[in-house]
Structure formats: C-alpha cells, structure tokens
C-alpha cells in the first residue's frame, strides 16, 4: 500500500549517484570540447592521482559522517603523518616498510584520540575535531621546526610507492580503489557497518536495540585516522617535498567530496561509492579549470556552487517526497 512512495525514496537515493555520474559526464564532455588535451592519458592519470589521496581520506570521512559526526582534523592528520614518516626516513631511523607502518599507526592513534574526545569526553565532534585540527597542525610545526623534508632526503623505495604501477596502474590509484572497495564492503555487508548507519539514522533506536554506539563511533574516528595515516604516507611518497603546511585545507576537499557524493551530513544514509564519485567530480573540475587557465579564485567559487547544487538537490527531492507522503497518510 505504501510501497510505491517508499520505493521512490530508494530509487531517489540511487538517482543521487547517477546524477553525479551524469554531472561528471557533462563536465568531461565540456572540458574535452574546450581543451582536447584533457583526454590525454597523461592528464587523466594526473586527475586520478590527485583524486586518490582525497578519496582515501574521504572513505574514512564517510564512515564518520554516517554516524552523525564529522572529522575536521583530516588535513592535519595527513600532514603530520606525511612529515613524521618523511622525517623518520630522512634521519634513517627506520627502514621504508617500518616507516610506512609507523605512519599508519600514527594516523590510527590520532584518530583514536579524536574518538576518545568525542565518545569518552562527550565533546561534539565538530568542536573536538576543530580542536585537534589545530593541535595536530601545531604538533606538525613543532616537529618540523621550520625545516622541510625534500625528495633528496628520501629513499627511492619510498618515493617509488606512489609512482610504481601494478598492471600498468599507479599504486596510488590501486590503493584508493582497494580501500574504497573494502570500506564499501564493511559498510554494506557487515553487522558493524550496518550498525554505523543505524546510529546515524536514529541514535535512540540504536541504543534500544543494544547497538554499542559509543564503541562504534570511537572505531569510526579511529578508522578515519588510520586512512588519513595511509593517505599521509602516500602523500609524502607522491610529492617528495613535505613541510609543516602539507595538506592544509584538505579537510574541506574531503568533506566536500563526501557531501557532494550524497552522504547525508546528518548521518544514516550515503555510500562510499557516492563519496568517491564526489571526489572524482570535484577533482575533474579542478583539473579542467587548470587546463582552461582559469584562476584559483574561480576554482573555489565553482567548488562551492557544486556543493550547494548537490545539497540543494537533496533537500528538494527529500522535501517533496515527504510532503507527498504526508498528503497520502492524511487521506487514510
């Protein structure tokens, strides 16, 4: 009896991802017409390489946002991990595998601190992670002390991680794809993953069915930290030069990708696939503007318009469906 509108809502959620794909197609088409060099394999590779780092962090951010939280500290975590990893290698303190592992563990630890502040300290996530955004960046400055790590200081094995290829595809892109697939599996097909959706959809009901909300929210922040650790290690490898400013402002790109990708900022709905598409759309637009020699000012303004369009479309679709449903139940 109420199956039809319910189905419509489900379809609308799918359409959301389809919509981004269509937008992506239109952008690609437009840029190709204006600047044929866009489609060159080199350029497409560059787009995917830069999107990959954002995408890895965005996969972690998706986990957090689904639980009705947000992690603003991702840029600082990526930057701190990138510098510390590079510095360990520069000092020859650790070998490459050990340093990579150390970077990931550092990210996990930073994320766990976020999770502890939010769950044990009961500080709202937006405030807690705004705090750690600054604290982690401050630590980065403290450790760096005005110095930087350059490609000359780093072993070739480390620099090669990002640029080497598996079956012709750069490791960075493969890593992003594998991580996205793994996170998608956990979110879609495991009990803890479904519990994350439940917490974001109705926290009180989640408690009522005995879902350990606090533990899972903690885990979500820890996972975001771990993925930022991975992104930080790859960041150093890709760019070679790391200073204390590395990855500043990355949090905004990451959150933009998640939101444009249709993950509800109030939790409970959205997919990693959507967030990946969001990252890809924003990355493509960035690249296109560079090719078209538009200024960075336009870049930010257009990113902003894309976010507003995406979120506005969500609100409109949801609103009209809710009204339709209320009208229906009124007639009962």
């Amino acid at each position: 009896m109420t199956g039809a509108p319910a189905r419509a809502l489900a379809v609308a959620a799918r359409l959301r991802e389809l919509g981004i794909l269509v937008a992506l197609g239109l952008v690609v088409l437009a840029v190709t017409l204006l600047s044929p060099s866009f489609l060159h394999l080199d350029n497409l590779g560059q787009v995917l390489l830069s999107v990959s780092l954002v995408a890895i962090a965005a996969a972690g951010q998706t986990i957090v946002v689904l639980t009705r939280n947000v992690d603003l500290s991702v840029g600082s975590m990526v930057g701190l991990v990138a510098f510390v990893t590079g510095d360990l290698l520069k000092q020859h303190a650790l070998g490459v595998p050990e340093a990579v592992l150390a970077g990931c563990v550092l990210g996990l630890g930073l994320g766990a601190v976020n999770g502890a502040i939010v769950t044990i300290g009961r500080v709202p996530a937006i405030v807690a992670t705004l705090g750690t955004l600054n604290v982690y960046r401050g630590l980065d400055f403290f450790v760096a002390g005005g110095k930087e790590v350059s490609a000359y200081d780093l072993p070739r094995a480390y620099l090669g991680i990002a640029t080497s290829a598996v079956a012709g595809i750069p490791v960075l892109i493969v890593a992003a794809a594998v991580i996205a697939a793994a996170v998608a599996f956990v979110l879609r097909s495991t009990r803890p993953g479904r519990a994350l959706y439940a917490i974001g959809s109705n926290p009180a009901a989640a408690d009522a069915v005995g879902i350990p909300s606090q533990r899972l929210v903690f885990a979500a922040f820890a996972a975001s930290g771990l993925l930022c650790g991975v992104a930080g290690v790859l960041w150093g490898s890709r760019f070679g030069t790391v200073n204390a400013f590395a990855a500043s402002g990355l949090e905004l790109e990451v959150i933009a990708a998640v939101v444009v990708g249709g993950v509800n900022i109030f939790g409970g709905s959205g997919t990693v696939f959507g967030a990946m598409l969001g990252a890809l759309l924003l990355g493509t637009i960035d690249n296109a503007l560079t090719l078209l020699r538009l200024s960075q000012f336009w870049l930010q303004a257009i990113d902003g318009v894309v976010i507003l369009l995406a979120v506005g479309a969500d609100a409109t679709i949801r609103g009209s469906l809710q009204r339709a449903l209320r009208a229906r139940s009124g007639r009962r």
């Binding site: 809502l9 097909s189 495991t190 009990r191 989640a206 139940s329 009962r332």
Partner: protein
Amino acid sequence: MTGPALLELRGISKRFAGVRALREVDLDLAEGAVHALVGENGAGKSTLVKILAGVHHPDEGEIRLAGAPLVLAGPAAARDRGIAVMHQQPNLFPDLDVAENVFAGRLPIARFGRVDWRRARSAAAGLLARLGVSLDVAAPVRGLSVADQQLVEVAKALSLDARVLVMDEPTAALSGREVDRLFATVRQLREHGVAVLFVNHRLEEVFALADRVTVLRDGRHVITAPIAELTPAETIRHMVGRQLDSLYPKQDARPGEPALEVAGLTRAGVFRDVSFTVRRGEIVALAGLVGAGRTEVARALFGIDRADAGEVRVGGRPVHAASPGDAMRAGLAYVPEDRHDQGLVLDFSIAANVSLPVLARLSRLLGVVDRGGERALAGGYAERLQIRATGVDQPAAGLSGGNQQKVVIAKWLATRPAVLILDEPTRGIDIGAKAEVHRIVSGLAAEGMAILLISSELPEVLGMADRVIVLHEGRVAASLTREEATQEEIMTAATGQRGA
C-alpha cells in the same frame, strides 16, 4: 484460564526528581494471557513500561522472570531475556529498509561475517506474512505510514521470539482494520504462550482483547481482576476514584460576548471537525487523554501547525494564523506544555523573558531595547503574579517550577491577549504554586479574558472550568457544562465509551 505467572513485579517504586511515579506496584503476567494496564494520564503506566523495557530502573521492588530474579541493566538486557517492548511511537531507523529494521543489531550472518541479506529479507517477509501484511521488505522505513511502521515493530518483536510482549498503546495510530489485524496477531501470540501486557486508553479494545485488567491511579495499584468481573463503567470509576479538594477557587464569572469561535477545525490525521466557543470571562477546559489531540488543536489555533480546514474567529474577526506572529496580532496567547523547551529561555533574566514577545513595543530607535521599560514591565507582572525572585534580573533557570510558570504566564500577559490558551499550566509544580496559578487564571477570567485550559488533571478541570470540551481521538466527544461535568462523565467520553 490463564497459565502460571511468567513475569512477576513486586513492590515496584520509582521516583523522578522527588515526584513519585510508581508506589509499590504489584503486577503478574501469565503465560498465554493478555493483561491490560489502564489508568489516567500520569497514572504511571509509561513508567512501568519503561522499567520493563530496561530504560528505567526501579528504586525499590523486585522483578522475577519464571521465578528467577531479574535485573534489567538496559534495553539490550530486556531484549535478551525475551521481553519485547513496542513503544507508542515506532522507534525505527528511517534510512534503513524494512528487513534491516526488523533485524537491527542482529542481522543474520553468512560466511566471513558477511550479512546474509537474502535470509534477512525472506525471514522478514515471512514474519510480515504471518501478520497478514504485504510490505516491501527492501523499501526504506522513511516512506511508510505510522501504522505500517507499527507493524514493522510487531514483526521485530515476533523475530525475537519474545516470551513477554509489552505493547504501549500500539493502536494509537492504527485504523479499525489495522487494529483487527493486530489483535488477530496478539491472539495468535497468546495461543503460543506469550505473556502480553497491553497498555491502552481505549476501553472497548481492552474489553475486546484482554483476559485480565489492572488499574493504576496516581502511581498506585488499584485493582487487578479478570475482565469478566468488571464493566467499563466500573473500570472508569477505579481509574478516577479520587476526592475533589477545595484547591480550585473559581470565581463566578459572567460570560460576555464570544472571544474565540472555532468551527470545523481539521488537521488531516490529527483532529477533525473541532468546534467550540470561548466567551469573554469564561474558562473552557479541553479535556481528553494523551494523544486525543488537545495540544494539537492549541498549536493549530496559535499558528504553529497549519489546519487543513475550519474557521477561527477572535473577537468576531476571522483569523488565518499562518504563524504564531499572526496569532499574537489577532489577540491569542499560548502558554505551552513544556516550559523548558518552548516557554522559557532559561539563561535569560525574568525581565528578558517577559519582554520577549513584545520587544517591538519596547524598542526605540534602530531596534535598541528600552531596558528600563523592560524592567518596569516585568516588575509590574512580577508583583501582580507574586513571582518570588531576588529581582527581575534573576535568571529564569534559578526559579522554582511554579515561579517559572508564572514568568511564562507573565510573558504572554504582556502581549495583552484577548484569549489565553494554557496547556497543562500546573504540571510538575508543587501544590502551593498550583493554587496560586489557579487563583491567577481565575482572576484573569474575572477581568474578562477568555481562557482555554488544557489539563489532564480532572479535579483541576472540574474545579476551574465553566465548560468542558472532551476530545477523543481528535474529535469532540462531549461538551459539558459545569453542572453536567463529573469525573465519570469526562472519562467516559475521553475513553470513547460515549457515542457522541
């Protein structure tokens, strides 16, 4: 006809911030029996349900399940012991689909910890089929009607193989056909030996379904009896049997011309064809059980919610209140039920609270508020209403409940309304402050203000009101004069026992 006691409650007491919600209540639930729990608003039914759900913990008393003492650490503990609770409002996950809601937190797992969606969906579909419902198990719950969501809750309880099923007013949002379907399911569960606790306001449903009935009043156990030994009229007497006291000093008023006229007011699915008139100097009470639509009518009158049909006149002029601002300009004032959430800004001083709705009147050039005028205004009302505080600069948070309520009333009096709507004005305030609020309200009516009083306390309604409008499920079930109104008459109409 009933089996042995499966769940026993002995001497359960619970207090909240000094208010005794339950006092030494005993209750036995037998296997294969439906036990109805009835009582007026505030009798303690919901508190008892929440204790069984593991949400609240009793201060005193003991719960035994199949003879063994039971301590419910939380909702999960209750669930694990086979106690399923359906709350009044479905508590589901709107973003997730029906199957996932049925098995939330307990999704079936296949190899590698992977959720077995196929099994979850077919099991959910099977449960819904048992209920005789055709719902798309893959559709998100957000799109379902409240009735369908309630059925998802039943399916959830079924999936738990519950031995005890607690249903807190499960039929509140269901249509007649849906109620029949639910009852058929409950009878089926009874056949399978489930102990059902059925909390309900609708006596005809209680008498149609229950084997035994327990009446609570003011947190105390009044009577437990097999349903065959009671009549609806006797049950109502047990529910209300309370002495009237002389707390309610209603002054005689000579009602003047109509101040508020409501004709055919309707909000789809909430209330229907509500008509009444309140004259100048008259106190009209809007009585009814929780969920009958009293507050909803007030909200529509005050422009918070929109009515779908009907006419409202204030002082003879038609009013189309699309917002509280419109309603205020038309001469309406509304003191809401929840003074913390909707009535007061706790961090503000008394003066700032009182002046809030009339800031425009108190503003000078460029909207700068005249602080002196504000304090004078608040001071006048503080004196008149005898608000006990160190001064009008004292923050509202530090006041007692009764004095907070007086500040809210002062705030709305400052708008100089023709019609004052009071929603549960004495809930949660002590008895002395209650009497003062009654004196104030009565005085306002004597001055010619028209007052619409929403109250769940029958003695208050009977003591204060010149006339009583009783709502039952969103419709006017009775309109009683002061002489006609008795506790029994009101409860009879409010529980739907009177064909109005």
